[in-house]
């Protein structure tokens, strides 16, 4: 079962939930936790397992072969991303703008733009008992998250298809990186906080899940701050409330020190139980 943890906004407790849920499930079932927040993966702060393998992920970018080129100028006209420019007798490729579609390379009449692998990021696989943890990290300065997210998910398909659970810690927001991360999930848990910003961003995440046709439920974190408008919203929209995690200073402090919350706080443990019950019933 593949479960995505997502939120409309950063800072709502997505990683906290993903880590605690995965660790609890791993007490009795084979579980994969995959951190797909590739620009800033921080699930690893909480988990110290045995390192199995680190993979250098690559992306393909065209590389100009000057001696093969006949300067026909087809490649700049093909590229939709302005990643190739012709400057007289020189063809310049700008890798950051390239989307790796291969069109210029494969349509070049003289094969002067073979594709070359450039560093994209890393996939780090650790194991801790029944838990496998894969962290995907995008190299600094790179803008496009989706290619790495896709590679990470392929890795999961290949190596962990037999696991009982796959928990995906998605990137925050509702842009195409979040969609890449959640579109293959069986179920999505949206986490929010009970404030106006939280509610607005939740509504965007809800719209996205409905657009993808994904079954989903909501967890309200830091219950106690802000107001209770989110509960009215969930009722109006007939969206299942999976659990409420209370706001408490002790929890915030424990979190900031990288501690596992459900072992120390019964309220968190109870919330996880409710979530697990809901998910199993929903599927």
């Amino acid at each position: 079962m593949r479960i995505a943890i997502a939120s409309g906004k950063g800072g709502t407790g997505k990683t906290t939930l993903a880590v605690n849920l995965a660790l609890k499930l791993a007490e009795s079932s084979t579980t994969l936790l995959m951190d797909l927040d590739v620009e800033e993966p921080n699930g690893g702060i909480f988990i110290e397992g045995q390192c199995i393998v680190t993979i250098d992920a690559r992306r393909m970018v065209p590389f100009w072969q000057q001696n093969a080129c006949n300067l026909c100028g087809k490649c700049p006209s093909l590229c939709r991303y302005n990643a190739i420019i012709k400057l007289g007798d020189y063809i310049m490729v700008m890798p950051e703008l390239c989307h790796s579609c291969h069109a210029c390379s494969e349509l070049c009449p003289v094969n002067a733009l073979p594709m070359q692998a450039l560093p994209l990021g890393t996939l780090k696989h650790q194991s801790l008992g029944k838990l496998d943890f894969v962290e995907s990290r995008l190299n600094i300065g790179l803008e496009q998250a989706s290619p790495l997210i896709s590679q990470a998910l392929s890795y999961a398909d290949k190596h962990f298809a037999g696991h009982d659970y796959q928990i995906l810690d998605s990137p925050p927001g509702t842009s195409c990186a979040m969609i890449s991360a959640t579109k293959t999930a069986d179920y999505a848990i949206l986490i929010t906080e009970p404030t106006p910003f939280g509610l607005y961003d939740l509504s965007l995440a809800v719209e996205t899940m409905r657009h993808l046709g994904k079954p989903f439920g909501v967890v309200v974190n830091r219950w106690g701050i802000g107001n209770s408008e989110v509960l009215d919203y969930l009722k109006r929209e007939s969206i299942p409330l999976l659990a409420k995690i209370p706001h408490a200073r002790e929890i915030a402090i424990a979190y900031s020190q990288g501690e596992i919350l459900y072992q120390a706080f019964p309220a968190v443990d109870e919330a996880l139980n409710q979530i697990i019950k809901h998910i199993e019933a929903a599927l």
Binding site: M92, E96, L97
Partner: protein
């Protein structure tokens, strides 16, 4: 010498466009012929990403000796312009073309990139 300016209008009274990649117009001043002409770059607003490189290519085709602009080109555009024998002067934002040209002649602009 051939001098190009990033501009938000046409003619000597037009304002310098402080942007490079998304500049509305490129004005070309041919010192020898004492002629000021313009190229409309406003189609650039349809470009999602990579406006800088696209405008840099336009500059390349105009083949100037000097570029006078406001903030200067971003990373990718700067890489392209560095392939040309081009001197870039920045700091002309807020001036009109005439004032920018005078500032350049009086060494009041900073060399960019």
């Amino acid at each position: 010498m051939k001098i190009v300016f990033t501009a938000s209008g046409e003619g000597w009274d037009a304002r310098i466009d402080p942007r490079f990649g998304r500049t509305d117009y490129i004005l070309v001043y041919d010192e020898e012929k004492n002629e000021l002409s313009s190229t409309d770059n406003r189609e650039i607003k349809n470009v999602e990403h990579g406006a800088g490189p696209k405008t840099a290519q336009l500059i390349f085709e105009l083949n100037p000796d000097v570029l006078i602009t406001g903030n200067g080109p971003g990373g990718n555009a700067a890489a392209i312009l560095s392939k040309m024998k081009l001197k870039i002067y920045v700091g002309a934002g807020g001036m009109n073309i005439r004032e920018a040209y005078q500032a350049y002649q009086n060494n009041q602009l900073k060399e960019g990139v």
